[in-house]
């Protein structure tokens, strides 16, 4: 495995009798964009609060950039930029003052702050709102400002809790682009979300968490391969006889794992073929059906999206 910048081992957090995080083990490689996905109440925020030294784990260990969150909190704080799901509103503050205050909290000398603020505002495209009051900004702008704040001390890891929640589509795309940009600058980005479209769009790695436990994690390609062992091909035909003919035609083909009939949809009959072969095999299947002289309306491979993947992994554990 590549260099891990965030690592946890059997992390447990209990609040009284309820267990929020139950033996979670995370592995986030340096330089990745890691999507931390799970249903509400799965323990995502609690995990992030432990990683950011805001909450002490009941048991287990966590390291960020090689520093333990329990014994070296200050070193961890130096390495991370954290954005909670709630935007901390200080009323009566201008945009530049907001950044100036947090830069000062990170011990950046006053002489360097002015340039830093200009650079940060330019990065998140808020230069024109420099002197506006923070609470007059739109939600998307606040989120971008918040992101600029986390960058004040040039951390190597960004820990973002639901960075895109509650944003309109345009603002969401802007945040997404910003994250990709930051990743290009060499930052590791670890963010929680339940918007799977964001994950499939930008993430290099994904971890799926449920009931305080990690169910699956790894690089996007590995996860896709792991969660989707078969290709699914749907053949659409005109009538019931053709269904039987298709079944017969592909029955003897190599790498066919299963053939089943689907419910007819708007008068059309469909057959699903679970297939584990490569592209040549798919072409061969197509040829077989054509040779059998069946009237074909459609021959298509279903690409499973992340949502279906997510549903498949998480199903069964909820109930």
């Amino acid at each position: 495995m590549a260099d891990l910048i965030i690592e946890t081992k059997d992390l447990v957090k209990k609040f009284g009798k309820t267990t929020a995080v139950n033996g979670l083990s995370l592995e986030v490689p340096a330089g990745s964009i890691y999507g931390f996905v799970g249903p509400n109440g799965a323990g995502k925020t609690t995990t992030m609060r432990m990683l950011t030294t805001l909450t002490r784990p009941t048991s287990g260990q966590a390291w960020i950039a090689g520093h333990s969150v329990t014994t070296e909190p200050r070193a961890v704080r130096r390495a991370i930029g954290y954005m909670p799901d709630e935007f901390g509103v200080y009323d009566d503050m201008r945009v530049w003052e907001y950044l100036d205050f947090f830069a000062a909290c990170y011990d950046i000398p006053e002489s360097e702050r002015r340039r830093l603020i200009e650079d940060l505002l330019e990065l998140v495209d808020l230069t024109h709102r420099r002197d506006d009051m923070v609470d007059k900004l739109s939600r998307g702008m606040k989120q971008r400002l918040s992101l600029a704040r986390t960058l004040a001390h040039d951390p190597s890891v960004l820990i973002l809790d639901e960075p895109a929640s509650g944003l309109d589509p345009r603002a969401r795309v802007e945040i997404r682009e910003l994250l990709v940009e930051l990743s290009r600058m060499g930052k590791t980005i670890f963010f929680s979300t339940h918007i799977l479209a964001d994950v499939s769009e930008i993430c290099t790695h994904i971890g799926i968490v449920e009931a305080g436990q990690m169910i699956a994690q790894g690089s996007m390609e590995a996860m896709r391969a792991q969660l989707q062992p078969h290709r699914e091909i749907t053949v659409t035909v005109r009538d019931q006889e053709s269904v039987a003919a298709v079944k017969e035609a592909v029955a003897g083909a190599p790498d066919v794992v299963g053939v089943s009939e689907l419910e007819p949809k708007s008068g059309r009959y469909r057959v699903r073929i679970d297939f584990s072969g490569d592209d040549n095999g798919v072409a061969d299947l197509n040829a077989r059906i054509t040779r059998a002289n069946i009237a074909i309306l459609g021959f298509a491979e279903e690409t499973k999206d992340l949502e279906a993947m997510f549903m498949r992994v998480t199903k069964g554990i909820v109930s």
Binding site: T52, T53, R56, E86, G88
Partner: protein, 440 residues
């Protein structure tokens, strides 16, 4: 963040240096407490005629010309003053306040002056510890800076028309009250026939200072009780915690911004107090004394507010606790205690017909202590001493029982020491409890 975890952590060189200097100053404060305690013990022994006071004076306060027993009282109070100032500077150093280094230097110089001028040998304790801390901190003078939290709070507080409006309303009300007081009092004296201008001046002065004190009692805790709970409620506290902002900086910054505004209100009230000069009867010294007492009260009450703000989860609860404690300490406790003291006084001096000198001494000192825990009592009795006996600091009180004298001090001195020490201790406790509650 437990102390254990902190001990394990690799601190940056700057953080380690500040911790080191802080603990040096803390040890200095403890050493001063020991000095004061030992001096008090020696005083008791001398009081029993086992060793002479003059011997103590020759060791502890060599060049003092006054009575030997009051020399000992001076030594005790100066050690206590050093104690409270060292604690205040310690908090300043830990919070990396820009004023901390000059204050430390000033404290050292004043103690050197005390050593040379008065022969106050216990000053050596403070000189050694403060000097040691100064030498340690010399390595990184860049560590000290304007507190970012104070900066942020003051920017917010002073913006727009609100701060201006509050001050205008405040001064308007104060002026109105002063005018009213003048009209009522002058018409009263006109009808009764005696119209001493000095009397009017004094009444106006006391009226304004009294209102200001009342204002501080209500405003100071209100400004600070929401300081930490407010950050929690607005969910900005998490943000601050993940930055490198140290808890002492956070707590002191909050306190400074609240006190900064109160200081502004007090300063803007001075011209109003000075109207008394037109009528006479009030000296500049009284003005200065009143200002010190008001400021020290504001500091102490502000710290009470911030202490409860750190200890309580909600602003409302913090405010309720802070006001209960303050109103109790300001009004209820003094009334109860002075009633008890009065009864004791009566029993001792009238009913039993002349008490022993020892008992009378104890009652006198208890009386002083009691006066010193309340700003109103301390202020009034300091003013009384100033006007009637021309006493600003130490004086000799003649016992009724046997005509011998005991050393006493004007209550504003003891008041300042007690309140500053309480404030410093409360800040240290606040920092501790903020650290504890921050990680659940």
């Amino acid at each position: 963040m437990t102390t254990n975890a902190q001990a394990l952590e690799m601190l940056s060189p700057r953080e380690r240096l500040l911790e080191q200097a802080g603990s040096i100053l803390q040890r200095g404060a403890i050493a001063n407490a020991i000095v004061a305690g030992v001096a008090l013990l020696l005083g008791l022994i001398a009081g029993l005629r086992i060793i002479p006071f003059s011997l103590l004076q020759n060791v502890l306060l060599i060049r003092y010309g006054g009575a030997a027993d009051s020399a000992l009282a001076i030594v005790i109070l100066m050690a206590l003053l050093d104690l409270s100032l060292l604690l205040v500077v310690m908090v300043g150093v830990l919070a990396r306040e820009i004023w901390a280094l000059p204050a430390l230097l000033l404290l050292t110089l004043v103690n050197i002056a005390g050593l040379i001028g008065l022969g106050f040998t216990p000053a050596l304790v403070t000189i050694i510890f403060a000097g040691w801390a100064l030498i340690a901190l010399r390595a990184d003078t860049q560590a000290f800076r304007v507190n970012p939290v104070m900066m942020k709070e003051l920017r917010g507080r002073m913006r727009g028309v609100r701060a201006f409006a509050v001050m205008t309303v405040y001064l308007g009300l104060m002026s109105g009250f002063t005018t009213l007081l003048y009209l009522v009092y002058s018409s009263f004296t006109r009808s009764s026939g005696s119209a001493a201008a000095g009397e009017i001046g004094r009444v106006l002065f006391l009226g304004v200072v009294g209102i200001e004190l009342l204002l501080i009692v209500f405003i100071a805790p209100a400004f600070t009780a929401g300081a930490i709970t407010g950050e929690r409620e607005r969910q900005t506290y998490d943000l601050l915690q993940t930055t490198l902002l140290a808890t002492p900086s956070f707590v002191t910054g909050k306190l400074e911004s609240a006190l900064g505004y109160i200081l502004l209100l007090l300063l803007s009230g001075i011209p109003l107090e000075s109207i008394a000069f037109l009528f006479g009867g009030v000296s500049e010294l009284e003005l200065l004394l009143s200002f010190i007492i008001l400021l020290v009260t504001a500091i102490a009450l502000g710290t009470v507010g911030i202490y409860f703000s750190a200890a309580m989860p909600r602003t409302l609860m913090a405010s309720v606790r802070a006001y209960s404690v303050i109103l109790g300490a300001m009004f209820v406790v003094p009334v109860v205690l002075s009633a008890i003291l009065n009864i004791v006084n009566d029993l001792l001096f009238s009913k039993l017909g002349g008490a022993s000198p020892l008992l009378e001494t104890i009652v006198r000192y208890l009386d002083l202590l009691l006066t010193s825990v309340n700003p109103i009592a301390a202020g009034l009795s300091a003013q009384d001493l100033l006007i009637n006996q021309r006493v600003l600091g130490f004086w000799a009180y003649t016992l009724h029982s046997n005509g011998s004298t005991i050393p006493l001090v004007s209550p504003w001195v003891t008041f300042t020491i007690i309140y500053l020490t309480i404030s410093a201790v409360l800040i240290v406790l606040t920092i501790r409890s903020t650290r504890q509650t921050s990680v659940e």
